[in-house]
């Protein structure tokens, strides 16, 4: 399967009230010791042929992430759902 996974995260300096709300709920079921939770998005893109990282980066850069507030990473995933050891621009923000 030709799948590329894009992870989009808010930049560290952007407040994430959603993550704060999740963190605030943890003590209700007894979880303590968590200092921070941040919520991002995982987007799976399936290509008809070989996974096209350049296309995936274009999609991530133009649409999936807003470089003003977010960073993204792009990686190819194999059938077992493991990241293939292929170089990807970590935190590539335009």
């Amino acid at each position: 399967m030709a799948r590329v996974v894009v992870d989009v995260m808010l930049k560290p300096e952007i407040l994430d009230p959603q993550g704060q709300a999740v963190a605030g709920a943890l003590p209700r079921f007894g979880v303590t010791g968590v200092t921070q939770v941040r919520v991002g998005k995982r987007i799976e893109i399936d290509f008809a042929g070989e996974p096209d990282l350049d296309q995936a980066r274009l999609i991530a850069d133009r649409l999936l992430a807003n470089p003003v507030i977010e960073t993204y990473t792009v990686r190819v995933e194999d059938e077992a759902g493991r990241a293939r050891p292929e170089p990807s621009p970590a935190g590539a923000a335009a």
């Binding site: 808010l10 300096e13 952007i14 407040l15 009230p17 959603q18 709300a21 649409l63 999936l64 807003n66 003003v68 507030i69």
Partner: protein
């Protein structure tokens, strides 16, 4: 001749009819524009209305930015055509990079609807020139993702260049940085505003008629431009 304002309808637009009505009530002619149509039908100005274009999927305004009509509007805006983005329209203008910064989830996570006091900042825009600087107005605000953010350098530039057109006073409804409710581009023809002036144009339905000022500003701006061109 009456000034013609195009109001765009995207799938999920909500306040397009209110914007059309506000334009007419303030003395202009309104034309409906469709998101999939890349022509502007000769309008003098464009309003991107509030709502939830494309279901707010991915990020508010992220998909609307690529609508056929938006490419034409972006070109026209760069050529000086007045464009006002209200609420979702403001989000679209930021996503389209016609205005800097972004609008993100309200700090307190609640959708906030209320009559909001604003202080007008820059009046050097196509949409605010009929106000006095520092004038306070009451305009309804209603958003879940209206918190304006930008990096400190951008915020400093906006303030140094007098590009903040309105700030929240009497309480910030969404955690917007530096209480910013609206901004303009460098040329002053493109304005984004989170509150809804189209909901404050008549006493029967609005908390004030202060919203009329944005439309009267446009008419004044275009009349002035016409006078200059005719000389």
């Amino acid at each position: 001749m009456s000034i013609v304002v195009g109001v765009v309808t995207f799938p999920g637009s909500l306040d397009d009819r209110d914007a059309v009505r506000a334009v007419r009530r303030c003395g202009g002619t309104a034309v409906r524009l469709w998101h999939a149509d890349d022509t502007l039908h000769g309008v003098d100005a464009v309003i991107l209305p509030g709502g939830f274009s494309y279901g707010d999927y991915l990020r508010c305004g992220a998909i609307a930015r690529f609508a056929p009509v938006m490419e034409t509007i972006a070109d026209a805006a760069r050529g000086g055509m007045p464009v006002l983005g209200i609420c979702n329209g403001f989000q679209i203008l930021c996503e389209a990079h016609l205005l800097p910064g972004a609008l993100v989830r309200n700090e307190h996570l609640h959708f906030r609807t209320r009559d909001q006091r604003l202080r007008i900042g820059s009046v050097a825009s196509a949409w605010t020139n009929a106000f006095a600087p520092g004038q306070e107005v009451v305009i309804p605000v209603k958003n879940g993702e209206g918190r304006y953010v930008a990096d400190a350098k951008t915020l400093d530039e906006l303030e140094a260049e007098d590009r903040v057109i309105a700030r929240y006073v009497g309480g910030n409804p969404n955690g917007s940085l530096r209480d910013i409710a609206g901004i303009r581009n460098e040329a002053g023809n493109v304005v984004g505003l989170m509150p809804h002036p189209e909901h404050a144009v008549e006493e029967l339905t609005g908390p004030s008629v202060d919203g009329q000022g944005f439309f009267h500003s446009l008419f004044r701006h275009l009349a002035g431009a016409g006078a200059v061109a005719a000389r």
